[in-house]
Subunit: 223 residues, 2 copies
């Protein structure tokens, strides 16, 4: 690898076993000795470190809030941002096809490789080293996220709003499914006790359509 | 708590801070000072320890196999079994309603409480103590699970069977959705290249119906 000192500087971590690092940067399109197993390990290290962090930072936060905070950190897009800031895309080892199609800029590859780097550091120097790496590179994200910034999804908010009023949970029904395979559209209806209007929405998945229908119901109820 | 020495013996762990243990056994129906936050923490400890265990035990296992092995350990039913063997149900602190309806035997409560105990041990004495607790009590499960015992789901197996033959991935379409809300039934069709027959199945969710349709396609292809 060219000028690995620069990478160590950007990682703010120096590997004892450089092969672990190289493995963490190798996509399966390049070699069967790729980052996938390290990614599996790193994902669980990251999950634990972030869980522990929020657990201690927010002693008053509920389990649901803690889960949402963690989910908001470990989202693919966030991980890819961190990977880009470190400059991992300059170092990814991709097969030719992936290289041509711009694989080093793809969120999923960047996110997976970052998790693999975390797994590699855990193997190279233990959990504390991996924790330090995470806290350092996720510093901004970890400070931005708090119980107020992680909002519940519309379905949850609608259900809670109804419960506060002593009303039953809403009813969701699929009205229709249309369109060709792979591009099916779901039309969903949401019915709310005491509300004559039926709230419908269409989306590329049942879940998305339900969330949108719930959003409409919420807007009406709150008005 | 009555005869806490017995519980320590069954846990094979002695708490320094007994309040952590008591919190880990308290359901939200009993108190707002309940196990939910500890469960959040314990879940991530368990995930990391089990991931690490399989990673080192099976150096040849792919990321997909490792994920399936881990999922098969942390399933609610397995965790509830471990909790029962430890005898946690004798110690759960439940509200009256939950007590009357047999909450100490419910899988979800037992599983969550076990995760909370793991989180509590991690706080009480650190990750190594939590790891020892997990390895000891999951010993049998961990030795039973290997790459051969965790089977891929039918959709994955069908896709792989087709790929081995150089055929494209199957097409899944929702044929109809019927039935009243909460009991909607999904009819799904699975089409496979080069196979005139359409494989259909009906199920309580799209996913379940797709898996059943894939199973039918697999049976036909393999015949």
């Amino acid at each position: 690898m060219q000028d690995i000192e620069r990478l160590y500087r950007d990682l703010e971590y120096r590997f004892t076993d450089v092969q672990l690092l190289s493995r963490a940067l190798t996509h399966r399109s390049k070699s069967t000795l790729n980052y996938e197993r390290l990614e599996f390990l790193g994902d669980s290290v990251l999950g634990f470190v972030v869980a522990q962090w929020f657990y201690h930072q927010f002693p008053g936060a509920s389990e649901g809030t803690l889960s949402r905070m963690r989910a908001s950190v470990v989202r693919k897009e966030r991980l890819a941002d961190v990977a880009r800031r470190i400059g991992l895309s300059d170092w990814l080892l991709l097969g030719e096809g992936e290289q041509r199609s711009g694989g080093f800029q793809r969120d999923s590859i960047l996110a997976d490789s970052l998790e693999a780097v975390i797994g590699a550091i855990q193997l190279d120097a233990g959990l504390d080293a991996a924790r330090q790496f995470i806290i350092r590179h996720f510093d901004e994200i970890l400070s931005d996220i708090n119980p107020d910034t992680v909002r519940k999804d519309p379905k949850t908010r609608l259900q809670e709003a109804l419960q506060r009023r002593g009303l039953p949970v809403p009813d969701y029904t699929i009205v229709s499914v249309s369109g060709p395979p792979h591009e099916q559209l779901f039309e969903v209806a949401c019915e709310v006790a005491g509300e004559p209007e039926t709230f419908t929405a269409v989306g590329p998945s049942r879940r998305r359509a339900e969330q949108d229908a719930a959003k409409k119901a919420l807007a009406k109820i709150a008005s």
